[in-house]
């Protein structure tokens, strides 16, 4: 029985950082010191017996010196609304860090990060990791409207920003994948480039196409419904590109992922 993975963290602060978007900073040495970018936590929705499943959230950032970590989330349904109403000093019943993490090729010379909406969550920690390795970064970040952008000043420190909004209120009007295509078309030498993406399924689909077309390695952090987060329920199936029919046709998002090489998984459009 290792005490590390299932435990309680203490909420230090909680603040609204964008429309319907909150940042919770919590004290927990274990998560703070060990988490890698792309990993996630399963958090129990407090005071709500009827909500059985924990809720999965990417580890947004860590402050190892302070023993704290952040999650960044959007209020979607009952669970996230309850989390948004937590008071400082409440206990968070957490499970994690879980899952694999983004993998950095030795030969990587430029990281191209593509985020849609709350898909931005895992990339703060990643950028800190990559900054330590002095890898140049491009951040393609699209949201619906400008009040949904999170942490732009911080991201700007790490990466060149390419922003888009559906309503045109900031940056390019339209999809962030348009900006990505343009960028790659302009820079024909793709050697040493790695793509990292997290966001809604249609965006993943598009990025997969773009990556294939430019033959750039791309990793996606994938979201599925999850009952457990640690391989027990086998509910978080992700179809494999090269299935062994009737034997092995699916990965598990929580255990084999959430980060996948995009060539290996089928993304429905």
């Amino acid at each position: 029985m290792s005490p590390e993975i299932l435990h309680h963290a203490t909420v230090r602060s909680i603040e609204q950082v964008a429309r319907d978007t909150y940042l919770i900073c919590s004290v927990d040495e274990q998560v703070s010191c060990n988490a890698r970018a792309g990993q996630f936590l399963e958090i129990k929705v407090p005071h709500c017996a009827e909500i059985l499943w924990r809720r999965p959230f990417s580890i947004h950032n860590t402050q190892p010196q302070k023993h704290t970590f952040d999650i960044l989330f959007q209020t979607i349904g009952q669970g996230t609304h309850r989390l948004a109403h937590l008071a400082p000093d409440s206990e968070l019943d957490i499970l994690g860090p879980l899952g694999n993490h983004f993998y950095y090729e030795r030969e990587m010379r430029e990281a191209i990060v593509v985020a849609g909406g709350l898909g931005i969550a895992p990339f703060m920690l990643m950028m800190r990791e990559l900054a330590q390795r002095r890898i140049p970064m491009q951040l393609f970040y699209g949201v619906g409207s400008s009040d949904q952008f999170c942490c732009l000043p911080l991201f700007e420190k790490y990466a060149t920003l390419h922003l888009s909004t559906i309503d045109g209120s900031l940056g390019h009007q339209g999809l962030v994948t348009d900006l990505l295509s343009d960028y790659l078309d302009r820079n024909s030498d793709n050697h040493g480039k790695s793509l990292f993406v997290c966001g809604p399924t249609p965006m993943l689909h598009k990025v997969k196409e773009i990556a294939a077309c430019h033959t750039i390695a791309a990793q996606a952090s994938v979201e599925t419904v999850m009952a457990c987060g640690f391989g027990a329920c086998v509910g978080c199936a992700v179809p494999m590109t090269n299935p062994v029919a009737g034997q092995k046709e699916y990965f598990l998002a929580c255990k084999d992922g959430p980060v996948f090489d995009m060539r290996e998984i089928v993304i429905d459009d």
């Binding site: 029985m1 059985l52 499943w53 009952a227 640690f230 027990a232 009737g246 699916y250």
Partner: protein, 302 residues
Amino acid sequence: MIDLSVQIGPLTLKNPVMTASGTFGYADEFVDFCDLNEIGGIITKTVTPQPRAGNAPRRIVELPYGMLNSIGLPNVGIENFILEKMPFLQTLKTHIFINVAGTDEEGFAYCVCRLEDVAGISGYELNYSCPNVKHGTSFSSDARIAERVTRNVRKVTARPVIVKLTPNVTSIAEIGRACENGGADAVSAINTVVGMSVDIKTRKPRLSTIIGGYSGPAIKPIALAKVFELAQNLSIPVIAIGGIACAGDALEFLVAGATAFQVGTVNFHEPNATMKIKKDLEFYCQKNNIVKLMDIVGSIQL
């Protein structure tokens, strides 16, 4: 010293806390959460003669106090199971029950046969009742088939055989009796209740297979009625399954006549639930001056 041990056929379990098939993997997923040797009995995820990939997503749906699943029994098949999963299970110091299913009548006895020479197995649980595979429930909704399949398994093993029953039948007692006649050492009940959910925005069923299995605390009242019915009608032990989330839930089943119980869905969100339930049972016995937990089995006042 409180005696939590219970008797399932020829086996003595150190306590009545077991894990429900398909909710505890092959136990190794839970090493971080549980002292596996403290669990009374571990039942592994269903294994079938051939490997199975399982159903297409979406496989699970959350509901208030419950969930729907349509996993489709993905597993590596009996041969790989023996090679890949048994070595870890053999290191455990508790009773290991291998849950098996066939896609036809012979499949059950076939799996059991293949496992007979494998060490570290206390017994078998036959999954007659998975609603998420074709013909999955016919074994447990037709008494003659249930009896025949049980008898065929009985012929090939001396190890204890538990038959796991579906609640989705007119008379679970009739099927249970058939299994008893076929030579089962115990029955376990219930498997999931057939259920469905529709997304009214897309007008699509939420599960890829349309219908699936309902589990979790919401099905506890149904499970209690079935377990009570079985306990009243059979003379072999009944192992309770269905919505057990705490020691209080477990006690309801023990009082109603269950000899042991399995913890299912709750393992997903409280992976140390088995530990907590065991501790709370001990505490309950202490508080109520119960020296032997087995004494409360079937103690319901009618």
